[in-house]
Structures are given as C-alpha cells and as structure tokens.
C-alpha cells in the first residue's frame, strides 16, 4: 500500500521536463526515490564487508571482531573491500537515436538519470565519473568526489548533444582499458547494437570486478510503433529510409525488439549485471526507487 502511494506521487516525465534545471530534476528524483526506504549510509555501492581472517600477530587490535571472539573464543580480523569510497562511472550514450521519444526524448531522460545518479553519489560522498560516447568517446569527466562534482557533471551534460551513430563495442572497449580501479559502472544507452556484441563489450568490465548496471532507455513508440499505413521510417543515425508495412511493425518488429531486450537482460543477469529498463513515459523517480529497493533487498 505504501509502495502504491509512493508510485502515485512519483514525478511524471512531463513534470520533470518542466523543472528545467537539471540539478533540480536530480534533487527531485533522488529525494522522491528515497521516500520510504531504510536509512542507510551506504546504498550498496561501496565499503562492503569482505571476509574474516584469523588474527595474526601484529594485526591491529581495532579490527578484531570481539563479538565473534566472545562466542568462539577465537580472534578474527574483520576485513572490508576497500579503504576508500567507491567510484561510480556513468557511460552515457549520445548517439542520434537517443534523440527520440515522447513526451521527453531518451536523451533528455538519460540526462535526468545521470544527473540523479550524480546527486545520489554525491550524497554518499563517492567519486563520480562521466563518459559520453557515440561512435567513440566524445567527452570524459574524470572521477572526482569533490563537492562541486555535481555542478561539473551538470555542465558536462548540458554541453553534450546526441549525434552520429553508435559503436557500443568500440566505445566500451576503449573505456574498459581506462577503468582500472574497481567500482560501479553504469551504462545508460538505448543499446542499438547486436545483443551478443553488447555482452562481449561489457564482459571485460564484469570480469575485472566492476559492478555493472545497465539502464536501457526506451520509448514506447520503439516497442509498439503506432504506424497504421505504409511508412518510410528514417534511421536517425544513418538517415537510411526503409519502407515498412504497419503489419510488420505490429507483429514481427515487436517480436524482434522484445527478443533483443530479453537477450540483453538475460546476458546481463548471467554476467551479474543489473538491467533496468527506463521508459520515457514512466516516472524516473519511480524507476529509480524500484531499482534501489530491489538492490537493497537482493543478497550481495
């Protein structure tokens, strides 16, 4: 019941679009997403408990878990995964196909999402990095935990413009070379590439211990085209025109696009990555809330 109430209070995309300021959007989205959630300094992105190790001579006594010692009469040292904050790297797809959608475009939605994530990361004092790419890396904001990181991210988002095509494989390959420190890698894209190639591209990141989250931005028109007559559909990235019948769009095309989405989702699950579908006509804070709640409840 509480969840339903929260859902109803989520901000519709059209409302977000009217807010204008990206910072305001981010603040509204994040604060809305956190409503009803448990207070936690860490929302699972960093400083996770790693393991117990038998106490050796010379170990710092401050790390001895005295509770375990009281129960077992043995001294164990409690170890964590890292000593510093986690680095969150957002990979934002700025291809021309992102400039599609109603009531807000996928690009606008991705901007809101990035800004919200940056705001969220800033709240927990983690480092945030942003990389914009299309056929190759377009621009890059190095990881930073400075208080002004949010402003820099917002400025970066403002400066970026969707254009050209998408080369996910090439861009992710380049990025995987650069990201050496383990952290969270968030991919925001409409994922217009072969699903196998996408998986092959993000696989190195997963194998290097990066925690992967894939935000798949989609418009309803992409999933369920509304054309009722023969139309020439023009590819936003390549300007190629294909004349298609409405019957094809109503049946075969939907099967294909759904199969593509499912294939990516399945592959992400196999790699241990989170797959989140973000629709342009759904409240962004609702999507974020649902994902964070799921993440909070799922075993680490």
């Amino acid at each position: 019941m509480a969840a339903r109430v929260a859902t109803e209070s989520f901000l519709q995309p059209s409302v977000l679009a009217r807010l204008g300021s990206l910072e305001l959007v981010a603040r509204a989205v994040v604060e809305g997403a956190l409503v009803g959630m448990h207070r936690s300094p860490k929302f699972g992105f960093s400083q996770e408990f790693a393991e117990y190790r038998a106490y050796n001579e010379g170990d710092d006594l401050r790390f001895v878990d005295w509770n375990v010692y009281a129960r077992t009469d043995r001294a164990y040292i409690k170890r964590f995964q890292g000593d510093t904050n986690t680095r969150v790297t957002v990979l934002l797809d700025a291809s021309a196909s992102m400039n599609f959608g109603e009531p807000v475009s996928k690009w606008k939605l991705a901007q809101y999402l990035c800004a919200s994530l940056a705001y969220l990361v800033k709240r927990q004092h983690d480092a945030f990095a942003l990389t914009v790419f299309n056929t190759d890396v377009v621009s890059e904001l190095p990881p930073s935990a400075n208080p002004d990181v949010l402003q820099r991210v917002l400025a970066h988002l403002h400066a970026a413009t969707p254009s050209d095509g998408t080369d996910l494989v090439r861009s992710l390959h380049t990025l995987s070379q650069r990201i050496s420190q383990r952290g969270v890698v968030i991919l925001v894209s409409d994922l217009y590439a072969d699903s196998d190639e996408i998986i092959r591209a993000i696989q190195p990141l997963a194998h290097r211990g990066q925690e992967l989250i894939v935000f798949h931005t989609l418009d309803r028109e992409e999933l369920e085209p509304s054309q009722t007559r023969i139309s020439a559909l023009k590819d936003l990235e390549s300007d190629e025109k294909i004349v298609v019948a409405p019957e094809f769009l109503a049946q075969a095309y939907r099967k294909k696009i759904n199969a593509h989405c499912e294939a990516i989702e399945t592959s992400c699950q196999r790699l241990g990555a989170d797959y989140v579908r973000v629709m342009t006509d759904e409240p962004l804070d609702g999507v974020l809330h649902a994902y964070l709640r799921r993440r909070e409840t799922q075993p680490s």
């Binding site: 196909s97 992102m98 599609f100 996928k106 409409d190 217009y192 418009d219 992409e222 085209p225 054309q227 007559r229 023969i230 139309s231 020439a232 559909l233 023009k234 590819d235 936003l236 990235e237 390549s238 190629e240 025109k241 294909i242 004349v243 298609v244 019948a245 094809f248 075969a252 095309y253 294909k256 696009i257 593509h260």
Partner: protein
C-alpha cells in the same frame, strides 16, 4: 440549352483529373523518423494500389467545380421564344446612305422601307405592351444616330425624311461592330433592321467583323437589284502644255451580276473633252464587273491654260448612277522639277555646279536654273546654295535661306571651305563611316564604299542638327537642320534643309565621281519635292491636312475654310466629288476627289450569303487575297466555325437567357466547400489529393 462558345466544353476532359487523382493514391509513403532501422525489414510497396475511389464527397465537389468552370466559359444560355417571353425589345433601324443608294430608285425605296420598319418596330405585337423603343441610324463611312431611342416615332420619321444619300462609301463590318457595341449597352434585346442595297464591295475582308453577340435579330431589307452602272476615273498629264495623255479606268457593273463566260461585253464609249470641246472618243468593250484601262496619248490641248480635262463614259446598256460616269481630271504637269542654284558671299563654284547639274539632269529628273539675289522668286521650291564655311565655326544660315525654308522651300546647302582647308592630301583619306538608315532620304540603300574623303571638314553642330552621315573618323558629313524653332506659328510648315560638309568639287572628296552621287542627288530632290506635294487623288470621305495660311477651293471655286480657320492647320473632309484646289502661299495644287470605286460597283450580295449573315451563321475564312472579297456560302464553310455559329439560331426569334448568374455563385460555393472539406481532412490535403 445552347452555348455561345461550345469549344470550351472541351475542358470537361479536365474532369478526368480529379478522378485519376482520387483513384490513384500517392505512391510515396509518408516519412517519419525512427531511432534505428536495425530491426526493420523493407516492405515491398505495390506499384499501384487497390484501384478504388477515395473521398467521394471531395471528388464530387471537385468535379462539380470543374464542370461549373467549363460551363461558365462556354456561356450556356436558354432560348426563350420571344412571344412566350413577352419581353419588349429595342429596334435599331439603319438606312444605308452610301453613294450607291443614288442609283435608280434605290433611295426612295429605302426611305419607304425605313418608314415601314419604324412603324412595324414601334408597335409591339404583344398584347400588354404598347410601343417598343426605336432608334434611327444612317450608314455612310460611320454609323450615325438620328433622334434618340424612344417609343415616339415622330422624331425618327422627321429625321428620316431629312436624310439624303451621300457620296461616301459604306463599311458593313464597321457598322456591325458599332451596332454590336451599342446593343451591348442596352438592357432590352436589340433587333436591327438594315435597309441597304447590299453591295458586295462593301463587305469587309475579314468576315468575322460581321459577327455580333448582342444583337438578337438582324434582318436586311434590300432595295434595288437590277440597276446598272458605268463608272470612270482617270488621270491626265502634259509635258509641254500642248499635248496631253489621259489614262482612264472604266467599270461596268450590274446589281444582279451572274458572271458567265458567255455573257456579251457591253459596248462603252469613252469621251475626253476640255470644256465644251471633245478631244477624243474611244469605243471599248467591257465585261460586267471588269475594270478596263484605256490610255489616250494623242490629245492636243486646246490652249496652254487648260487645267483639267473631262472624261465621260456612256453606254446603251443604261446607267442608273450617273454621278460617277463623268469625271473632271486635273492636268498634271509632267515637267522636270525646277531647282534653283545660287551662292552666298561667293561665286557659284564651277566644278560643284557642273557635278550637280549633271546629276540632276539624269533621267530628266530636274532642271537647274541659276538664281541671282533678286530673282529668288517662287519659280521653284528647291534651292541648291553654296555658302563659305570655316572649320569648327557655327554654320550661319543666310537670312534668305532661313526665310525660304520657313516658307516651305527646301534647300541643299553645300559648304565651301576656304583655300587653306581645301588643300587636302590623299594620304589622309577618310571614308563614309556610318549613315542614318532610318532617315527617309534612304541613304542606306546607296553604295558608299568607294567614296573617299581627303580633307574632311569639321562641323560645329547645334541642337537642331540631325547627322545623316559621318565619316570613318566620326566627323559629321551630312546633316539635316530643323528650322522649326524659329517659326512663330506652330502650325506653319517649313521646308527641309540639308547641309553637306563637302564642296563637291572632286578635290576634297571623290564623292561627285562616284555612282552613288547621282542617286543621292536624285533622292534628295525627290525627298524635297515630296515635302510640298499634296495627294493627287482622294475619295469622298477622305480627309486632308491643310496647312496654315492655305485655302481650299471647292469644285465650284468656293472657299471651304473661313479666314479664321485658314490661319491654322486643320483637317478637312471632302464630301463631294470634283477637283479641289489647295492654294498655298507659293503655289496651287489640284486634288481630284472621286466617288469611292467600291460604291461604283453595284453588284449585290448573293442570297445565300445574305441569309447566312442575317442568321448569324456566317462562315468564312477571311479573304487575304489582295482585297478580293469572296463570298462563301454556308455550305462551303469551315466546319468548326459553322458549328460554332450555328449554335446561335437567330432565325428562331429567341431571347437568350444566360446561365452565368447561377453558374458563378455555384463555382464560388464549390470552391469554398472544397477548401473547407479538404482542410478538415488534413491527411487528404497533405497527400495532394
């Protein structure tokens, strides 16, 4: 329903256009953006889709619009019987007053018929209407209205009785157009009764001029069909004042002409006399409607003072129009043009004088007389003067030359350089570079290529000069100077002044040695002579521009202009045949005014053509064979034109009720409805359907 212009019905084929557009949909599918075509497969688009009509309401509106537009252009009308309609009408009664109506009893018969027409038209046959408005016109060269359009016939009848035949010719085409224009201004239908002798020679060459649009009923009341006429005209000339030559044209015509090869020629006597004395008589045979030319060149004039000869033709066949069978012909002087030659402030140069005299005497064109300062009289209208000139100085005209030109004389002024300028060297020879081909002197027709100018003179031009020739270096070589600005009376006629920048001595240039020189001098003198010449012969009805300070004397030697009128230039029309005398300050000119030759030919229009004319079913092509007016019967007509005209059956005495007052709002309504409907269906508009 009939159509004024059924040819526009061809536009109904345009109805196929919306049908095709609605049947064949646009093949280019609408374009819309899509994020990626990765999962799309091209669909095979059929070349033509299912053939079914779409948007039937819109199609109907568009078809209706085109239909209304075509009908509007075709101008449909309903024909309503006059009696059923019970509408009043205007009646125009036109009486032919041309010269041919003088023949026999034609005029009296015409007046009777006109009177009958006035009475018949004025009383409406309908029960409830009393009188129809009637207007009387007479036809000469123009249509002239008498009295006003009124139901009261008194004024029209009085005007009819006051009319007399004129000596002018009638023009049927012009009359029909004028009647049509008058009828177009009337609210009631217009009926026309035309009382005429229906002369074939009065028909226009362009038969379409007989066609009208606004006359409901056109009828011809013909008078005279059996008259015969003998007409003569001619010219006479004398070289020496003792012997004379007469050239006469004789025409014998019959109203009911049926030219056959077997018809016998008429025996005609041609008599030439001077006053009471008969100089010569010739008998000739002439076929009907054939003009015979007779030249009599062995005439001995009774005295040197004979000014005109009388040419008379008569025949035993009969002549119902006597006015054109006797004509006074002015005796023209065929002597060479007299050109005076003199020099100012110098002696007449021998070489130039010799060259000019030789050129002028060629072909007996002109006779040169030397003039001294005191005898610059009216003996001639043309002078050649020699005036000394120094380079680059203003050309100063001697006062006598100025006065002479202002009084209508013509002067060729040959400039004579001083001794130092005349010594040219052949190495500096120039040539004729450009000539004014637009000038009536026709300099462009002459061959100037061989002419060389060794010492060209440098003229100082004024604003009144028109350069007719330039040398290769651009120096003016021959100019025409206007003296109009110096004339006080604007209407005065001044002569021509030609200035030659060459002494014509054969030293400064070799122009006098060229063959072009003789032709050029001849052109110049002929151009001079034409400036003061009046036409020798005019027709009755023609007009002449009479210069100021000139009087015109009628054949009975009565002045035709008052003293006030003769002080200015004016146009004078001649209404009677005869020899008129134009008296100017320097000379008298005789102008022979004759009856129009067309009026002398009494041949009438055949019945087929007349019927076609009255029914508005005229068929033509227009005649373009040198004025030979050929009649074409309806049967030999151009089919398209015949069909076009046959759509207006005037013979049925019908009233046209045009449809355009209904068609025009319908057109506008369909246009508005189409726009509203098509705009409501934006998809239709976008697809261009």
């Amino acid at each position: 329903m009939n159509f004024l212009f059924p040819v526009f019905l061809a536009g109904l084929f345009g109805l196929l256009l919306p049908w095709v557009l609605h049947r064949f949909n646009r093949e280019t599918p609408p374009e819309s953006p899509f994020p990626s075509t990765r999962f799309l497969e091209a669909t095979r688009v059929p070349i033509s889709r299912k053939k079914r009509l779409r948007h039937l309401g819109l199609l109907s509106l568009r078809a209706l619009f085109l239909l209304a537009a075509c009908l509007l252009f075709a101008q449909p009308y309903c024909s309503t019987d006059k009696n059923r309609a019970g509408a009043q009408s205007n009646t125009f009664v036109v009486i032919d007053r041309s010269a041919s109506m003088l023949a026999g009893e034609r005029w009296s018969a015409a007046v009777d018929k006109a009177s009958d027409a006035l009475n018949a038209s004025g009383s409406n046959q309908l029960a409830d209407a009393s009188q129809n408005p009637v207007q009387l016109f007479d036809l000469t060269s123009q249509l002239t209205a008498h009295a006003s359009l009124s139901s009261n016939l008194t004024e029209a009848k009085a005007a009819l009785l006051s009319l007399e035949p004129s000596y002018e010719k009638a023009q049927y085409g012009l009359m029909m157009q004028q009647l049509d224009a008058l009828a177009s201004k009337e609210t009631l239908p217009v009926d026309v009764v035309f009382i005429t002798d229906a002369q074939k020679s009065n028909l226009p060459l362009q038969r379409r001029l007989l066609r009208t649009q606004h006359i409901r009923n056109f009828s011809i009341e013909q008078v005279g069909a059996q008259e015969k006429n003998l007409a003569v005209k001619g010219s006479a000339s004398s070289i020496d004042g003792v012997n004379a030559q007469v050239s006469a044209q004789v025409l014998f015509s019959q109203a009911a002409d049926s030219p056959t090869q077997d018809s016998d020629p008429a025996r005609i006597s041609l008599q030439i006399g001077a006053g009471e004395q008969i100089l010569s008589t010739r008998d000739i045979d002439a076929l009907s409607n054939q003009t015979v030319t007779v030249v009599v060149d062995d005439l001995i004039l009774p005295s040197a003072e004979t000014t005109h000869l009388t040419v008379r033709a008569f025949t035993e066949e009969g002549d119902d129009l006597a006015v054109d069978s006797i004509v006074d012909v002015p005796l023209r002087n065929a002597q060479p043009i007299v050109v005076g030659m003199r020099a100012f402030n110098m002696k007449v140069p021998e070489a130039a004088s010799l060259f000019l005299r030789t050129a002028l005497s060629t072909d007996s064109l002109a006779r040169v007389v030397s003039l001294s300062g005191n005898e610059a009289s009216a003996a001639t209208n043309h002078w050649i003067v020699f005036v000394p000139y120094a380079d680059n100085e203003q050309i100063i005209l001697p006062e006598e030359v100025t006065q002479f030109v202002q009084s209508g004389g013509n002067v060729m002024m040959v400039l004579q350089p001083g001794m130092e300028e005349s010594a040219g060297t052949p190495t500096e020879s120039d040539y004729i570079g450009s000539v004014d081909v637009a000038h009536p002197l026709a300099l462009g027709e002459l061959d100037w290529q061989e002419a060389r100018i060794y010492s060209p003179m440098t003229l100082a031009l004024s604003e009144l000069d028109r350069v007719l020739m330039r040398t290769g270096q651009g120096l003016p070589y021959m100019i025409e100077r206007s003296v109009n600005e110096r004339v006080s009376a604007a209407d005065s006629i001044s002569g021509r002044l030609l200035i030659v920048a060459d002494p014509l001595n054969g030293v400064v240039s070799d122009l006098p040695l060229q063959s072009a020189f003789v032709e050029w001098v001849a052109h110049a003198i002929q151009w001079f002579d034409a400036s003061s010449a009046f036409p020798e012969q005019l027709n009755v009805g023609d007009s002449l521009v009479v210069p100021a300070n000139a009087q015109v004397m009628s054949p009975s030697q009565k002045p035709l202009r008052t003293l006030a009128e003769s002080s200015t230039s004016s146009r004078l029309s001649f209404t009677e045949p005869g020899i008129y005398t134009v008296v100017t300050g320097s000379a008298e000119h005789q102008v022979m005014v004759t009856l129009p030759w067309e009026e002398s030919n009494l041949t009438v229009i055949d019945d087929d053509f007349k019927q076609a004319w009255t029914l508005g079913e005229l068929a033509y092509p227009d005649s373009d064979k040198g004025g030979e007016a050929e009649l074409n019967s309806a049967e030999s007509a151009n089919p398209s034109d015949a069909a076009l005209d046959a759509s207006v059956p005037k013979s049925e005495q019908l009233i046209r009720q045009p449809w355009w007052p209904w068609l025009l709002p319908l057109l506008a309504l369909t246009l508005v409805a189409e726009s509203l409907l098509a705009n409501r269906r934006l998809a239709v508009r976008r697809d261009g359907l």
